[in-house]
């Protein structure tokens, strides 16, 4: 979330699309009902299903699964053609004025640079025009046909309401009504927030779904403002924290890009990640990359990371290819993986195509499952009848199951969706012999380290030199780890020499900002000379000399906006609303006096939040509010980063019920995302509408959390058994009655469950064809106190988003019949 949970109460319009906040985040949803009651805010829900969010909404519109970009692109078109944008904001805070390389093209579904064989783009034409000073050329009038604004306008003019309705199945009037609601917040006194979740990410165009929305929020001037922002409502209680710790192979803690084979040495590596400002006077914050990275290496390797050995740069493994979950399990499926350590994760239930996963696990030599609960993954080898029809005697995997603690038994921090790190205390010991995860990790690592000491093997310098200064080596204390994450000064941290300051007399001792050995107050103190250590730069400041700030419980809310600056610690730098500089106009005056974030007081930025800009960098500097980009402004046109194009474009799901992409009906190669990765063998596993005519989607229900709560009696009693939801029209067509057992089949398998026939799912008119949806809640499996059932991922396709590789759980094809 760019903003935070309580901040939702400051919105005038709440759009829920690509998510179902009432069901998946009920306690966060209270700030929606709060806004509705006390701010008279409107709630608009767009979803293929009429959900429990829709049940309390002011307006609901249906759309076909996987067509969100078409819908949002139509909204962009509506805003641009009716001039309902926050023009001053767009001009000042986005790259709308930037000129783009004249070679950039979009033609019949492809952007310029596409390679059909590689299924990737050469992105070199998706670039800005540079001047002689290497800064980007701009056209302040936004009239140049090559400026981002004009390109965007041209690109989205194709999304007429009629065409949007044909693609999405949303009746035109309903689409226009939603577009009007959204566009209505373009004035500075109105703010919209968007709450989305996996309904947008779990698509092959997932990242672009979100980009499309981000563009709308930028055009409306809603970023950086109280009650605005683009708010991802994330899945797990600490999924944000683990994301921040970067348990991904492509990034190091704090989102520092991890080295690949091309980053042959530290210099190359740092250079590629330290951008130069693209416009004058920009903060270009990533220019500090080397400080963050060096401090991380010092945190991990301490004294062993020296200038001489490039701060142990070579000890970091380099990636040769992608190692996201889908890639890992595909490698496993191909027999390229021998061991698999699975901590607190149930992939056979959570990754698409259960059959492929089961086959992959059976090829392992050893599998280690660390979990507080029995999971299907740990028992993939066991026969559970139709739910898991395997022969254990034929599976040669050695499986270990290690009992870990649950939240109640572990002290430490969780980071919520709005980046607030909060300390929690354990109440009891783990049951039986169960141990907390950090202890299991420590013991296993120390065991390996001892083995390498006793019997040398492959390269072990990184193993032997890993800092391990914990009082009890087997049980690193959470306080010790959080202090390490926060970072400390190894040597005195000195104030940088200001070239503009008058020269100081010789012999004057330099100003010491942080004394050696002290905890760092924030990431501004990080250095790249080895004098600081920091396990995760964005968390710097959370455990400073002032103590453990994540444990703060101050309920003061001076602004009344719900920022609670003294509650826990919000990364970065305890900032509650990201990009809050954009909440004020270019002169530094808040756009809306009733929702003041920060303002320029003549000398500094000040207000109810920690400014998201250097405190003394005044409006006259021209520094933009988006300090993490070298442009200083937000990107309506994404240079370089996105894999399928700089503008979000509609592509059909890989399993499409209509078969053609109405945005480029003559290009069969661009029906679905042309840059999405498809593994060998998986292409054949995609179903066609002739055989599987119905658009299916998987989802959570409010009564359950993934595959955990099926182990809880109370939760199981309020939603005991698996079911399938279909609309009354489809039920009538198929002769299915409410409560009947039905068989749902996809190209990858079939499941059986009770059918719930509902008026809440309607057949949609898509380009003259009726498209029906089949809803598949995910929460059941063959282990639990709830009624056993099939894993819903028996049905789902093994393909992910072109950028994040998040699987396409939300749009695929099935057939359904009475069982």
């Amino acid at each position: 979330m760019t903003n935070h949970w309580v901040d939702i109460k400051n919105a005038d319009l709440i759009l829920i699309m690509g998510g179902n906040a009432a069901e998946a985040h009920p306690c966060g949803f209270k700030w929606v009902t709060e806004a509705m009651q006390h701010r008279k805010a409107k709630l608009v829900v767009v979803d293929p299903r009429y959900t429990r969010s829709a049940a309390v909404a002011d307006y609901y519109a249906p759309l076909r699964v996987g067509t969100d970009i078409a819908f949002l692109a139509g909204v962009i078109n509506h805003m641009l053609s009716n001039n309902k944008i926050h023009a001053e904001y767009v001009k000042a805070y986005t790259n709308a004025t930037f000129l783009v390389n004249p070679d950039f093209k979009f033609d019949n579904g492809f952007f310029s640079g596409y390679s059909e064989e590689k299924r990737t783009y050469d992105k070199s034409t998706w670039a800005y025009q540079r001047g002689k000073d290497d800064f980007v050329l701009v056209d302040e009038t936004m009239q140049d046909p090559q400026c981002v604004f004009q390109l965007m306008k041209k690109h989205y003019s194709r999304y007429t309401p009629e065409l949007v309705s044909k693609i999405t199945g949303t009746p035109k009037e309903q689409f226009l009504k939603v577009a009007e609601y959204i566009a209505g917040t373009h004035t500075p006194d109105k703010v919209m927030t968007i709450c989305y979740a996996l309904g947008w990410t779990q698509h092959t165009v997932g990242s672009q779904n979100i980009r499309a929305m981000a563009m709308i929020q930028l055009l409306l001037g809603n970023m950086g403002r109280a009650g605005g922002g683009v708010n991802a409502l994330r899945g797990h209680a600490n999924v944000q924290g683990i994301t921040d710790m970067c348990a991904y192979s492509e990034v190091l803690p704090g989102y520092l890009g991890a080295p690949g084979d091309g980053d042959v040495d530290r210099e190359t590596y740092l250079k590629a990640r330290t951008p130069k400002p693209l416009r004058p006077n920009q903060m270009n914050f990533p220019q500090n990359f080397s400080k963050w990275h060096t401090s991380l290496m010092k945190a991990w390797y301490g004294a062993a990371a020296t200038k001489e050995n490039d701060f142990a740069y070579d000890w970091l493994p380099k990636r040769d290819t992608a190692y996201d979950s889908l890639a890992i399990f595909d490698r496993m499926f191909q027999g390229k993986v021998n061991g698999f350590i699975c901590q607190g994760f149930n992939p056979i239930a959570a990754i698409p195509n259960k059959k492929k996963l089961g086959t992959a696990f059976a090829k392992l030599k050893y599998l280690v499952v660390i979990d507080p609960l029995r999971t299907e993954t740990a028992e993939f080898w066991k026969n559970y009848g139709a739910f898991n029809d395997v022969d254990p005697s034929k599976i040669q995997t050695e499986v270990f199951r290690l009992p870990s603690s649950c939240f109640a038994e572990e002290t430490g921090t969780f980071t919520n969706s709005s980046r607030v790190i909060a300390w929690k205390q354990r109440a009891v010991e783990p049951p039986g012999e169960a141990k907390v995860d950090s202890e299991i990790t420590a013991r296993l690592f120390l065991k390996l380290r001892a083995m390498y000491k006793a019997e040398p093997g492959a390269f072990a310098d990184a193993i032997q030199n890993l800092t391990w200064t914990y009082a009890n080596a087997n049980m690193p204390a959470p306080e010790e780890l959080l202090r390490e994450i926060n970072g400390r000064a190894i040597e005195d941290v000195l104030a940088p020499v200001d070239p503009k300051a008058p020269p100081v007399p010789k012999g004057t001792p330099p100003t010491v900002l942080v004394k050696a050995g002290e905890q760092l107050p924030g990431f501004a103190m990080l250095r790249d000379d080895g004098s600081t250590a920091c396990g995760n730069w964005i968390y710097a400041g959370c455990f400073s000399q002032a103590g453990n700030l994540t444990a703060r419980r101050d309920l003061a809310d001076p602004s009344g906006l719900g920022n609670y600056p003294g509650w826990g610690f919000s990364w970065p730098a305890n900032r509650r609303v990201l990009y809050n500089r954009a909440g004020a106009d270019p002169a530094g005056k808040p756009w809306d006096a009733s929702r003041r974030g920060i303002a320029w007081n003549g000398k500094a930025w000040a207000g109810v939040d920690v400014p998201d800009i250097a405190p003394a960098l005044g409006p006259e500097s021209g520094a933009g509010p988006f300090i993490m980009t070298p442009e200083g402004v937000a990107r309506l046109f994404a240079v370089g980063l996105m894999n399928e194009g700089p503008f979000p474009e509609h592509y059909e799901p890989f399993e499409t019920p209509v078969g053609t992409n109405l945005m480029c009906p003559t290009n069969p190669k661009a029906v679905s995302n042309p840059a999405a990765r498809v593994f060998k063998g998986d292409l054949e596993q995609f179903g066609k509408a002739a055989e599987f005519p119905y658009a299916a989607t998987t989802y959570r229900l409010t009564e359950h959390h993934h595959f955990w709560t099926k182990n809880s009696i109370s939760n199981s009693s309020v939603q005991p058994a698996q079911f399938i939801e279909i609309g009354t029209e489809l039920a009538k067509e198929k002769g299915i009655h409410n409560g009947d057992m039905v068989k749902v089949k996809s190209m990858r398998g079939e499941i059986k469950a009770t059918c719930v026939v509902t008026k809440r799912i309607k057949g949609l008119d898509v380009n003259g064809k009726k498209v029906h949806h089949v809803g598949i809640p995910i929460h059941w499996g063959f282990i639990g106190v709830a009624q056993n059932g099939y894993l819903s991922n028996t049905l789902t396709p093994y393909v992910g988003d072109a950028n994040s590789q998040t699987p396409e759980f939300k749009a695929f094809l099935v057939n359904i019949e009475k069982a």
Binding site: Y323, I328, Q343, K424, E433, D437, G535
Partner: protein, 195 residues
């Protein structure tokens, strides 16, 4: 049974007397209407965070039992933490049922192994479990570790053992897992966060 007038009178009197006693409350004792004992009266409060969705609601865990050596405290109830600015004491159905997850019959209590081809779990000690796992890891790493790629660049990677890191554990546990995985040279690791 022949009853004369006098006997009949007697019977009637006795009957009336009996019913009157009943009416006067001779029989059913008036139980004092009391509410159920307030079950949190003797509990200890511990503040934590709900592990489910990312609202990350504050919760209060109520444990019963003191910390005496011979007594093991038990969580008897969980409620929302009214101080937490986000949830303000509320909990959704998942959070409200947390006790049942903590005390689920499906909680794992000791290390186990399933031998190749076997159809059952076998209980083992922690030491045996960790030793056997570490041996597997070392054997695989030693065999498949890539120090340099074909271009001669030092890559120091180990990609034949994969790992998924929990997004349900604390930041501290997660950080330690990432730190050790990188030190081992692992590249094939990921987390639920992607999904």
């Amino acid at each position: 049974m022949d009853m004369n007038r006098r006997q009949f009178f007697k019977a009637c009197t006795a009957g009336i007397g009996g019913s009157s006693l009943g009416i006067l409350g001779f029989s059913s004792q008036e139980a004092l209407a009391q509410t159920r004992n307030f079950k949190l009266a003797r509990t200890t409060e511990t503040r934590s965070t709900c592990p489910y969705c990312s609202v990350s609601c504050g919760v209060i865990m109520y444990t019963l039992g003191d910390t005496a050596k011979n007594n093991k405290p038990k969580i008897i109830h969980i409620e929302g933490d009214p101080d937490n600015p986000v949830n303000r004491g509320t909990l959704c159905p998942k959070g409200a049922g947390l006790v049942d997850m903590i005390q689920s019959p499906n909680r794992l209590k000791h290390p186990e192994v399933r031998e190749p081809g076997s159809n059952e779990w076998k209980r083992i000690s922690w030491d045996e479990a960790l030793t056997r796992i570490a041996k597997h890891m070392k054997a695989d790493r030693d065999k498949n570790f890539i120090a340099k790629n074909d271009k001669g660049v030092t890559v120091n990677r180990w990609n034949t053992t994969a790992m998924l890191i929990s997004s349900a554990a604390s930041n501290e546990s997660g950080y330690l897992a990432v730190k050790t995985a990188r030190a081992l040279g692992m590249v094939a690791f990921d987390t639920q966060a992607r999904i």
